[in-house]
């Protein structure tokens, strides 16, 4: 057993079917997954492949029809909604495509709120907020309202909010999905930086540029894992990078 330290996140046999109008949609059809501490895993695939549903299951935002999830070895089968809400404050940070900031709270309050809800003293919450906002290049924006910020800035606030309680696991659902190319690069740079410091990340994206920041990429098709590849940066044929950049005669 010691060969395999407890994964930070483990899922076995996850199944989720959406029953809406029309035919049932099989969003997740039997997924097994292990994410080790410190890993940065990207899940890519076409829209409608079920990858966002998978992320929602992993964050307890939806419950699976079948299968189980373990957080750092703890089985979550018996978790209530309230317990999941606590986990999302302490052990799991989440960022979404549309930021989901509280629109009538200032930037500072958006970031401090989860810290206060998790029981941090106000002074400590403020210190954590100040540190994160400075780190994310948002110093001076504390009093702004989310609506006054650009998309890229709002996503950075959302990232600060997700990380303020130092959760071991960060889930990101299309974090650059509503950003321009520059905003995408910014998110990519920040995720890489937090990962380098040991943050475990599971990122869902249809953007291969963003996915390539991860060190493992899972291709998700039709509710299932089609491929699971470690990226070591060493293409089998070293022509890779020069092949795409070289000036031809």
């Amino acid at each position: 057993m010691n060969d395999h330290p407890t994964p930070l996140l483990r899922a076995e046999g996850l199944v989720k079917t959406h029953h809406g109008e029309g035919a049932p949609a099989h969003a997740v059809r039997g997924v097994d997954l292990r994410v080790a501490r410190g890993e940065f895993v990207a899940v890519t695939g076409p829209s409608g492949a079920g990858k966002s549903t998978l992320l929602h299951l992993l964050g307890g935002l939806q419950r699976p029809d079948d299968g189980s999830i373990w957080l750092d070895g703890d089985c979550t089968d018996s978790y209530t909604e309230a317990r999941w809400a606590v986990e999302r404050r302490k052990r799991i940070g989440i960022v979404f495509q549309f930021f989901n900031l509280v629109s009538n709270l200032s930037v500072a309050d958006n970031v401090e709120l989860p810290a206060l809800l998790a029981g941090a003293p106000p002074k400590q919450a403020r210190a954590a907020r100040e540190e994160l906002l400075a780190e994310l290049g948002l110093a001076g924006k504390e009093r702004s309202m989310p609506g006054e910020l650009s998309g890229g800035e709002q996503q950075r606030v959302a990232l600060a909010r997700a990380l303020v309680n130092h959760p071991p696991l960060l889930l990101a659902d299309e974090p650059a999905g509503s950003l321009d190319s520059k905003g995408t690069r910014e998110v990519m740079r920040l995720l890489s930086r937090f990962h380098q410091r040991g943050q475990t990340i599971v990122l869902v994206t249809h953007d291969a540029r963003l996915a390539s920041a991860a060190d493992r990429v899972i291709s998700f098709f039709d509710g299932r894992i089609a491929d699971d590849a470690e990226l070591d940066g060493a293409s089998p044929r070293r022509s890779g990078i020069s092949g795409v950049l070289e000036l031809k005669d």
Binding site: G45, A208, R209, A211, F221, D222, G240, L245, D249
Partner: protein, 171 residues
Amino acid sequence: MRLPLLALLARGPAHGYELKQDLEQLLGAAYPQPNVGQIYVTLGRLEKTGLIEGEEVEQSSRPNKKIYHLTEAGREALRAWYEEAADEPRVRDEFFMKLALAPQTGLADQIALINKQRRQYLNTMRDLSKLAAAEDRDNRIAQLLIEGAMLHLQADLDWLERCQEELEELE
């Protein structure tokens, strides 16, 4: 490389090594393994076709160096280069033919081929991301070259996804 070298010479005469340095400065780390040998060979060919002319310059303690300048024919070739729109980037026909013919050969599974190709592209994408991060952020030309390569790869990956969607349904 022929026409970029002509373009560099449009500013004024230069020798091979200077041209290599100009290219490096322009493209930064995005220019893989600047090969001075290739530059000299290309300059030789350009001279043979009359687009540039070289002049030997004596150096006191080193071998002679050759300074090249653009001829009128060279300037004309450069003008023609700028008149025309460039060709479209290549379609990955080699991979496509492998994929299309796989079922007939019985030697490869189409989905496995797609997965293998995707891994290769993703690894290259990762290399490019690292290169972009390492390159001077203010070197816009270099950053744009890398970003262009990444966007092309992104399109190739999107297309692989389409292949997978279509071909999986048939299985």
